[in-house]
């Protein structure tokens, strides 16, 4: 066992730092550091910069256009991105549908979809949940009826993150009701969002933002070749995807960055007041969060090390999801507590770089702490609520 990075690893770390110094564009950096949401164009520009560097798909094998990095390289890369507070790659393409296509798709699908995912020329979103199917995902009703040369899709998907920008959606749909287990009638379908009959209706979240949507399908004709893998096996593929998704939810580097920001902020006096960190109760809560985060970092590293020797991320990834979101929410609360009264003003228009400084209310970043706190209650709900994750772990890890 050794905690020290090898010379190669250190050199790689330096490469990533140099890249970020040279290529992380100022306008995006400013928005990120002020907590201003990125536009579709911002996100795509940044992803294309990574793509041109060959770093779009850090988790993919080389033969599919991935980096083929070791887990430690991935860890170093994620940490540097986190430390610079650079945007993360949107997960729906490279982290989610990409692996499904190269694991379960046919050659035609690989050639057709993977290059555009890598280059961010196609924006994907995820169609799993439905108005009647949240935690009980297998009860989903969106129907895909097989016709001569297409599936006829009818139904509604919901909580679809940034579907308003998406070109394509990957969906779990019901292709058969005549099955012993509900899970067996589910298939995995790729649908072009521009197909007639697809419509997107915004859902405004608790923080006043359009982040999620309802996606309606009304007699949408989807070519048969858009089916991934075998008909009726969609549940199996979806589960693999969820495990990848959950591993992704530990978000340790982002939490490290936020913790450092919090320490900085809480250590400073505001208008001559006593710094938050001088309050022993606050200092103890902060220290406890830091310890939990350190533990999580090593739990994730251990998981990466296991993946490196050929183990797929199994149900243990649920642990990363639960703990990762718990840590995020601990930090949300501490940032809210640290902001105090400055958390209360609700002036959304000032979260724009063009907004005149003289008109700003409170401390910009601190007034966002409440909105982040409200919004991020989602973290323990999405991707399978933390209670569902516990059911998964109880069944598949503990054998209960």
């Amino acid at each position: 066992m050794d905690i020290i990075f090898s010379e190669e690893e250190l050199a790689f770390q330096q490469d990533v730092r140099t890249f970020l110094k040279e290529k992380y564009t100022d306008d995006i950096r400013k928005k990120q550091d002020s907590g201003i949401p990125l536009s579709r164009d911002d996100m795509i520009r940044w992803q294309k910069i990574l793509y041109e560097q060959g770093w779009a798909a850090v988790n993919w094998p080389v033969e599919n256009g991935g980096t083929g990095w070791t887990p430690i390289q991935q860890y170093i890369f994620d940490n540097e991105i986190g430390a610079a507070n650079a945007p993360e790659f949107l997960p729906f393409g490279v982290k989610m549908i990409g692996p499904i296509i190269y694991m379960f798709g046919n050659d035609e699908q690989k050639q057709r979809f993977l290059p555009d995912i890598l280059s961010s020329d196609v924006w994907w979103c995820q169609g799993y949940s439905e108005p009647g199917s949240g935690s009980d995902l297998a009860s989903l009703k969106t129907k895909a009826e097989k016709q001569a040369d297409h599936y006829l899709v009818n139904g509604t998907k919901t909580w679809t993150t940034i579907a308003q920008h998406a070109d394509w959606i990957f969906c779990l749909v019901r292709t058969s009701s005549d099955v012993a287990r509900r899970q067996e009638g589910i298939s995995f379908l790729l649908i072009d969002m521009h197909t007639p009959g697809v419509s997107v209706k915004p859902i405004i979240t608790i923080d006043g933002v359009q982040e999620i949507n309802e996606v309606h399908f009304e007699n949408v004709k989807v070519p048969l070749e858009n089916l991934v893998g075998e008909e009726g096996k969609g549940w199996t593929y979806g589960k693999v995807l969820l495990q990848h998704e959950r591993t992704n939810m530990a978000t340790v580097p982002r939490s490290k960055y936020r913790l450092n920001r919090l320490k900085e902020q809480a250590g400073q006096s505001v208008h001559g007041g006593v710094p938050c960190l001088d309050d022993p109760d606050f200092a103890r809560k902060l220290a406890a969060a830091e310890i939990e985060l350190k533990a999580l970092e090593y739990t994730e590293l251990r998981t990466l090390a296991a993946v490196a020797i050929g183990k797929a991320p199994g149900p243990e990834s649920s642990i990363l999801k639960i703990k990762g979101t718990m840590v995020q929410q601990m930090l949300d609360e501490l940032l809210l507590d640290a902001a105090g009264y400055y958390a209360l003003p609700y002036v959304p228009e000032q979260y724009d770089l063009e907004f005149p400084n003289s008109e700003r209310i409170g401390h910009g970043a601190e007034t966002k702490s409440s909105l982040k706190y409200f919004n991020n209650r989602k973290a323990s709900i999405y991707g399978g609520s933390n209670e569902i994750q516990k059911n998964v772990v109880a069944k598949h890890v503990l054998g209960l």
Binding site: M1, E9, A283, A295, R302
Partner: protein, 376 residues
């Protein structure tokens, strides 16, 4: 960066695991714990023959040159087996002082015998008024010609009833909480003026409260520099803290595993209680606590091995985790065992008691969270 064990490290962990599985089941452990000495001198000889008592010592001193990783692996297994032999007291605490400070003569006198399994030893790291502060030392050592005269009181001296060696930190200068002015004395257990009250502790280990009344020791009994003992004391207590945390991780994992197993077999309302979601989620919580604690343990072992200045901070983080997340694992294990969990006959109860003793040893969760903040 690398999480894998070397071949030697795997073999060490495997050999202790095999010993516990084959020769140290719960029944045997209870029999040993209830014996007159409270541990098995015969098995202690076995430990020495297998080389376990030599692991942390330098090869030049007749040891095996093991580091934090080896110590961690051993203690985890000792926790799993709930062993009562005084490894912590003799090897980690007293041995830890000796290997850092002893002169060639002192090593000859004490250390060789410890490694061979012939000498038992103790480090008196606590005084009645000191709570968890190891610098709080009122025991005095006054120079008297070429001797020192020791007066004072020590409490909870682990393995303090042994026949051989007591290492006594005493003040040669400075005021009661000063880090400067602490000297470490190797005192023969049968020295005149030592009064001992020996007792069992709740975890079936043994300790003594010791009163020193005009105990005369030679200047040659000083370990290391006069007045400079604090750094050694601190390093040894840090290492012992790390060691008991590793033991606690072994205990937590055992308690968690046994609880899951129990819940699969215990039938109530016509079904195994492990089918109840209220219990399932709690066992997932304890699984996560075990994983997170194990992660901190590995991190600490790695920074300690690397000689990182953050190692002390890591130890405090780990001890805090043991006292919070770990305590929850231990309590839930008892709870899910129901009334059986609070009976003397169940191993769970004895794991719980040893775990609780570890929680308090060398500072509880509050103490270490504060130390973590101070070191930040």
């Amino acid at each position: 960066m690398d999480f894998s064990l070397s071949e030697e490290q795997s073999m060490l962990a495997d050999s202790i695991a095999r010993f516990i599985d084959n020769d140290y089941d719960f029944e045997k452990r209870q029999e040993i714990a209830e014996s007159e000495k409270g541990y098995s001198p015969e098995l202690w000889q076995t430990y020495a023959e297998l080389g376990w008592t030599a692991v942390p010592f330098a090869e030049d001193d007749g040891g095996l040159g093991g580091g934090p990783i080896e110590l961690m692996l051993m203690m985890e297994q000792f926790g799993r087996g709930l062993i009562v032999e005084p490894f912590l007291a003799t090897i980690v605490l007293a041995g830890g002082v000796l290997r850092r400070t002893a002169s060639a003569e002192q090593k000859e006198q004490w250390l060789s015998g410890i490694i061979e399994g012939n000498i038992q030893a103790a480090l008196a790291f606590s005084e009645p008024q000191g709570r968890f502060e190891i610098a709080d030392i009122a025991t005095s050592a006054k120079a008297d010609g070429d001797k020192y005269v020791l007066n004072g009181q020590k409490n909870l001296v682990l393995n303090g009833g042994n026949d051989d060696l007591l290492i006594i930190p005493a003040r040669t200068s400075g005021s009661q909480s000063d880090e400067n002015g602490i000297s470490l004395f190797a005192v023969a257990a049968d020295s005149t003026g030592i009064e001992r009250k020996c007792y069992a502790t709740v975890d079936a280990h043994h300790a003594a409260d010791i009163t020193l009344k005009d105990v005369h020791v030679d200047a040659a009994a000083v370990l290391g520099e006069v007045g400079q003992g604090f750094a050694t004391l601190q390093a040894v207590i840090d290492e012992a803290t790390f060691a008991v945390c590793a033991e606690a991780v072994g205990i937590m994992q055992s308690m968690h595993d046994k609880t899951v197993e129990y819940s699969k077999n215990r039938v109530q309302f016509g079904v195994p209680i492990g089918t109840f979601q209220a219990l399932q989620h709690r066992m997932v919580d304890t699984l996560m606590a075990c994983e997170q604690t194990n992660s901190l343990l590995l991190w600490t072992a790695m920074v300690k091995t690397a000689g990182d200045p953050d190692a002390r901070k890591a130890i405090s983080a780990l001890k805090y985790q043991i006292g919070t997340a770990g305590r929850n694992v231990a309590q839930e294990a008892v709870q899910i065992h129901g009334a059986m969990g609070v009976t003397w006959e169940m191993d769970i109860a004895h794991y719980f008691k040893r775990f609780t003793a570890i929680e308090l040893l060398f500072g509880n969760a509050d103490f270490h969270l504060n130390r973590y903040i101070e070191l930040s």
